[in-house]
Amino acid sequence: MLKKILIANRGEIAVRIASACRQLGILSVGIFSEPDRTSKHIQHTDEAYLIGPAAPLASYLNIDKIIQTAKDAGCDAIHPGYGFLAENAGFARSCENAGIVFIGPHSESIRLLGSKIESRRLAAQAGAPIIPGMEIIPGDLDNSRQAALKIGYPILVKASAGGGGKGMRIVDDEGGLSEALSSASREALSAFGDGTVYIEKLLKKPRHVEIQILADSTGNTIYLFERECSIQRRHQKIVEETPSPALNSELRRKMGEAAVKIAKAAHYLNAGTVEFLLDEDRIFYFLEVNTRIQVEHPITEMVTGIDLVAHQIEIAAGAKLHFRQEDLRQRGHAVECRIYAEDPANNFFPASGKILLYSEPSGPGLRCDSGIYSGYEVTVHYDPILSKLIAYGENRNQALDRMSNALNDYVLLGIRNNIHFLGEVINHPEFRRGNTDTAFLSRHFPEYSLFASNSTKLNYAMAAAAYHSGKSAADISNKIVGEEHPTPWNTLGYYRMF
C-alpha cells in the first residue's frame, strides 16, 4: 500500500483527497501558493509545502517544483484531483519517470484521451456514435470556415485540451466564427497551456449524460452508472443528479457498455468518466473522456456506496477491484449543487472577497464537500468553486426536497454566490418533471434578480438588521432598555458541584 501522497491541488477536492488518505491510514502532503497559506486544504493535510506565488503557472501548474516537493517530502504517490495538472499527460509522465505513482491512468492513456480529436477517433473505432465534426485541427480561418459550412451552423468551437467549458464558444453564423476561434483559443491557452481548438455540430436539446468507470490493473473495467449534468451555465455544470430521469435500464446498460468498451480500447486504468450527449430522440453521442476524478463524483458514491477516491488510491497501489459489474446497484437518488462565488444576476460573473459568516446545512441524506470557512478570503486567482452540496433520497423527489431545504439553510455571507439561484432551479416545475437539457438555464432563467419580491421577509430582515446595527453602533441603545447578554451565570439556573 502507498504510505504518503502529495495532493497536487487546492480547495474542496484537496480536502476530499486528504480525508480519503486519512481513512486509509496514508499520510497526506498538501501544497499551497502564497495566498493559499490559509486555505482549508492545508488544515486537513498532515504536511504542507509552499510551492510558489499566486499565478497557477508558478505554483499549482509548476510540474518540476511539484515533483521535487514530492521527492523531498518522501511521497510515493501524487493525486492530481481535478483541473490544474489532472489531465496533463506530461505531468503523469514526469511522475512515472521520477518513480512516483501518479494516481490516475497511464500517461499514454491521458495523452490519447486528452486530445478530443484522437479520443473521438478511438471512440468511433470502439463502435460508439460520435458527433459530426472536424477530425483534424483547423490550420487557418479559411479551413475552419469551409468545415463549418459543411457541418452546418450552429456549431461549437471547443478546446482540444479543454474541459469545464473553458475555451468553448457557440457560433450561430459565419460572422461570429473568427472572433470565437481566437477568443476560445486564448482562453484555452491560458487555462490549459494549449490553444488548439476544433469545431463540431451543435446538437438540438441535448442532455449531458456521463458514465463513471473504474478499471484495475488486471483489466477489470466496470461502470458505476450515469450522472446527468444538463444544468449548465457558461458550459459548466452546476447541478448534477443520478439516476438520470431520461434513462431506462436498457439505455443505461447500452451507454455503460459503450463506456467500458472505450476505456478498454484506451487500456484505461483507475477512475474515469466517459461523457455523452443524449439528444431528444434518446440517441447518445460520445463527447469526451475525463481521465480523472470528477467534481460531481459524490452523487455516484451516494447511490452505489462505493468510495471512488479511496478506490483510486487502492487501484494506484495495485489492488484489484473486489466487486464485479453484476454486484453493483443504483440505490435511491442523489443530486449535487455546486456552490460558486459568482453573481447569477450579472451573467454569473465571478465574485471575490471575504466570507464573513458561514454555516453549512446538515440533516438526513446531506453531504457538504467544502473548501471554505468563516473568515476565508476568496481570491481572484483560482476557479470560483466554493463547495458542493449533495442530497440523497429514497427517490428523486425526496432528494430534491432535501436539497431545496438544505439550500435554504445554507448561510454564506460576504460575497455574491449562487445558493439562492440553485434553489430556484431545483424547484422549477420543468426541472421537477425531469425536462432538462443543456440549454435549461438560458431558456428558463434568462433574467434573474437578487431582489426579493416578498416584502414580509424584507421586513424580517430589516428588523434583524436594525437590531444588529443598533447593538453594535449603540446609536439606538437608549431606546432599548433591560438589554442583557446571556452568560452562563444567568442561563444555567441552579447547579451544584460534585
Binding site: 471575490s352 459568516l357 481572484v380 435554504n408 460576504g414 428588523a463 434583524a464 443598533g470
Partner: protein, 171 residues
C-alpha cells in the same frame, strides 16, 4: 437607521415595545422579539413565527440571511452617496468602464474618438480563468483608453472613459 436596498433608501427604526421591539419601516410596523444566539446569529420571533437570522457586515454592506434568502443592505456613508431613487436614465457611471473585479485586460476593442452605441463590445477582461466581454450601456464617444492588452486592472481603475455624443450628432 438608513439602509439601501435595490438602489432605494429605506428607513428602519426600532424601539422597545411592550413585549419586545417594534420596527417602524416605510411599509408599516412589525412587532418582534429577538435573542442573540452567538455572534451574528439571532433567534427572531414574530408572534409565534420563529426564524433564525444570520447577520454580518463589512462596513459598506450588511448581509442578512433569513428564511432561505440573503439580503444585501447598503450602508450609506453620508447622504451624498445616495442617488435619489432608482433612476432608469443613463447615469454618469455608464460612461466610465471599470472592471467588476480585479482582472487582466485581454483585448481593447475600441479606440479613442470612436463612436459607440448601446451594446458595442468595448473590452475583453479575464478573471478567474473566465473571459468577460464588457459592452457599452450607452451611446457615447470614446474619450480615453487607459490600459492595453496584458495589463492588470484593479477595481476602481477606469479602463475606458467615454463622453456623451453631442446633441447635433444624435439629432
Amino acid at each position: 437607521m438608513e439602509l439601501i436596498y435595490n438602489s432605494e433608501k429605506i428607513i428602519a427604526e426600532i424601539s422597545k415595545s411592550e413585549n419586545g421591539y417594534r420596527l417602524s419601516a416605510m411599509n408599516g410596523n412589525l412587532d418582534f422579539d429577538i435573542q442573540v444566539l452567538s455572534a451574528g446569529i439571532y433567534s427572531l420571533m414574530v408572534g409565534n413565527k420563529s426564524l433564525k437570522a444570520y447577520i454580518a457586515g463589512n462596513g459598506d454592506t450588511l448581509f442578512v440571511h433569513i428564511d432561505g434568502e440573503t439580503f444585501e443592505f447598503g450602508l450609506p456613508k453620508d447622504d451624498s452617496d445616495l442617488r435619489a431613487g432608482a433612476d432608469s436614465a443613463t447615469s454618469a457611471d455608464d460612461y466610465l468602464i471599470l472592471p467588476p473585479m480585479p482582472s487582466k485586460v485581454v483585448k481593447i476593442l475600441v479606440e479613442r474618438g470612436q463612436k459607440v452605441a448601446v451594446g458595442t463590445n468595448l473590452v475583453i477582461l479575464e478573471s478567474m480563468k473566465m473571459e468577460n466581454l464588457i459592452k457599452s450601456k450607452v451611446d457615447a464617444i470614446v474619450e480615453a483608453v487607459n490600459f492595453s492588452a496584458g495589463d492588470l486592472v484593479d477595481t476602481g481603475q477606469v479602463i475606458i472613459q467615454m463622453i456623451p455624443p453631442t446633441k447635433s450628432a444624435t439629432s
